[in-house]
């Protein structure tokens, strides 16, 4: 428990020290809402609402604010968690070598990710109120933003553990985010109501946010779908973390003596 709490505390500290990401949030969240809101008229736009199967006639200005929020969250959180995972991998490995329990460490990282994304999604929802005064359910809108934040933070974490080149990682985050969130937007993409979009990571978040913005219906199935995306990607990311912090040889430490065979038996035979 002591190790979990220490890892949780320092994981938070690590995220909060990313001043550049917080600067981006402070500047670009309101800016993106303002720019996209300003250029998009309030004309009704048809949006396929999956929980009922019906076509919603949504206010185009308000709909584009949702896609703006999702777009900016996916990029900044993807970048933020990619950056921290990429930079701290060697340090995390050193900590696990020192004896930090890997399972507790992973739980601490997941907890820090969940809380950080929840707070950032809350901030993004709060700023949205300045541009859209009366969405139906702010809680559901926040849940949609949070789901997307969880998914993209996990994608960032996974890429940070897999991709060695920082620039390559940033480009992957940006390209995936752009393609995913742009395709969900019926104003920018005339084919936004096609069924294949339901296989993209931000689909459930978009549906949940639209439910919160325009209807009184709680889209529980979309919440579960979003959670499944998050859980799946996080599980892969944590598995990669587990493997990448694994000792390269089996070490048995006893007061009398420890023997580690640095070579695998198969390698010896070869």
């Amino acid at each position: 428990m002591r190790q979990y709490l220490a890892a949780l505390k320092f994981s938070f500290k690590e995220q909060l020290s990313n001043r550049f990401a917080f600067g981006l949030l402070l500047v670009f969240v309101p800016l993106w809402y303002w720019v996209l809101g300003m250029i998009t008229p309030s004309d009704a736009v048809a949006f396929r609402f999956r929980p009922t199967g019906a076509m919603l006639q949504a206010n185009g200005h308000n709909l584009v604010l949702i896609t703006a929020g999702l777009n900016v969250l996916s990029m900044i959180l993807g970048f933020m968690f990619f950056h921290s995972a990429h930079r701290s991998l060697d340090f995390d490995r050193r900590l696990t070598r020192a004896g930090l329990d890997r399972f507790g460490f992973m739980m601490a990282k997941a907890s820090a990710l969940a809380v950080t994304t929840g707070l950032i999604a809350l901030y993004t929802t709060a700023v949205l109120i300045g541009f859209w005064h009366h969405p139906h359910s702010l809680v559901e809108l926040w849940l949609g933003f949070w789901m997307l934040s969880l998914i993209y933070a996990s994608i960032g974490l996974l890429l940070g553990l897999l991709v060695n080149n920082e620039l390559v990682g940033f480009f992957i985050v940006i390209m995936v985010s752009m393609m995913d969130t742009f395709l969900q937007n019926p104003i920018g993409n005339p084919a936004a109501n096609k069924a294949f979009l339901s296989y993209l990571p931000s689909y459930s978040s978009m549906q949940l946010s639209v439910a919160g913005g325009f209807t009184d219906r709680f889209a529980g199935s979309q919440l579960l779908l979003g959670l499944a995306w998050f859980a799946g990607i996080l599980l892969v990311a944590l598995s990669v973390f587990y493997l990448r912090t694994q000792r390269k040889s089996s070490v048995l430490q006893t007061p009398e003596g420890a023997t580690h065979r640095p070579s695998a038996p198969a390698a010896n035979q070869a």
Partner: protein
């Protein structure tokens, strides 16, 4: 009885044979230097001894715990020196950070205790890197050119710390490039062509 024993350590990457059967042992209270040209496999050998890298063949026997100080500082830029000590004390399962703080005093960098590692000079980061390896007081110390970036005074303090560790019965292995410091070692292992060519007492 040796605290560290390396038997027939081999390492190859495809057709590049970095280590071709390295054998040596280190007794308690002994300081061993590993020397050799660039690319001779010194850091690879130390990583294998520390369990950081898997060898292609061979066996390492260690009595007790190992402290490994990598060549490049492995620290977290967003945490302060104080937080590093607390984090590693928790990981090592230490009751307090008193020995880590003793090392900070020995290496003279207490004034940076509440500075984030990202704001430290290269030399101070290296001091922190060394402190993290030594603070649990392991039986075997593996130090890969641990004084890079040290000024002369700190360099001398470093050897005082190593002497202290040696006197307390630890087995210390240091990778060295500097000829003038070779008289400090009890044994010098000269690594060449992936093998120990010379074992001088």
């Amino acid at each position: 009885m040796a605290l560290l024993q390396a038997s027939d350590i081999q390492k190859h990457y495809r057709h590049n044979h970095v280590l071709r059967g390295v054998n040596f042992s280190v007794e308690p209270g002994t300081l061993v230097g590993v020397v050799g040209e660039n690319g001779s496999g010194k850091s690879t050998l130390l990583k294998i001894l520390a369990g950081e890298l898997q060898a292609s063949a061979g066996r390492v026997t260690v009595s007790g715990s190992v402290g490994y100080c990598p060549q490049q500082p492995v620290v977290n830029e967003s945490l302060t020196i104080r937080e590093h000590l607390d984090y590693f004390a928790t990981a090592y399962g230490l009751a307090d950070t008193s020995y880590g703080e003793h090392l900070i005093d020995e290496l003279h960098y207490r004034k940076f205790l509440h500075e984030r590692a990202g704001n430290l000079s290269g030399g101070t980061r290296q001091k922190l890197n060394l402190t993290l390896a030594l603070m649990r007081q392991p039986a075997v110390l593996l130090l890969d050119e641990p004084y890079q970036g040290f000024d002369w005074e700190t360099y001398l303090h470093f050897w005082d710390v190593v002497e202290e560790e040696k006197r307390s019965g630890k087995a210390v292995v240091v990778i060295s490039h500097l000829i003038f410091e070779q008289k400090k070692f009890d044994h010098i292992l000269h690594l060449k062509d992936g093998q120990i060519k010379e074992d001088r007492a």
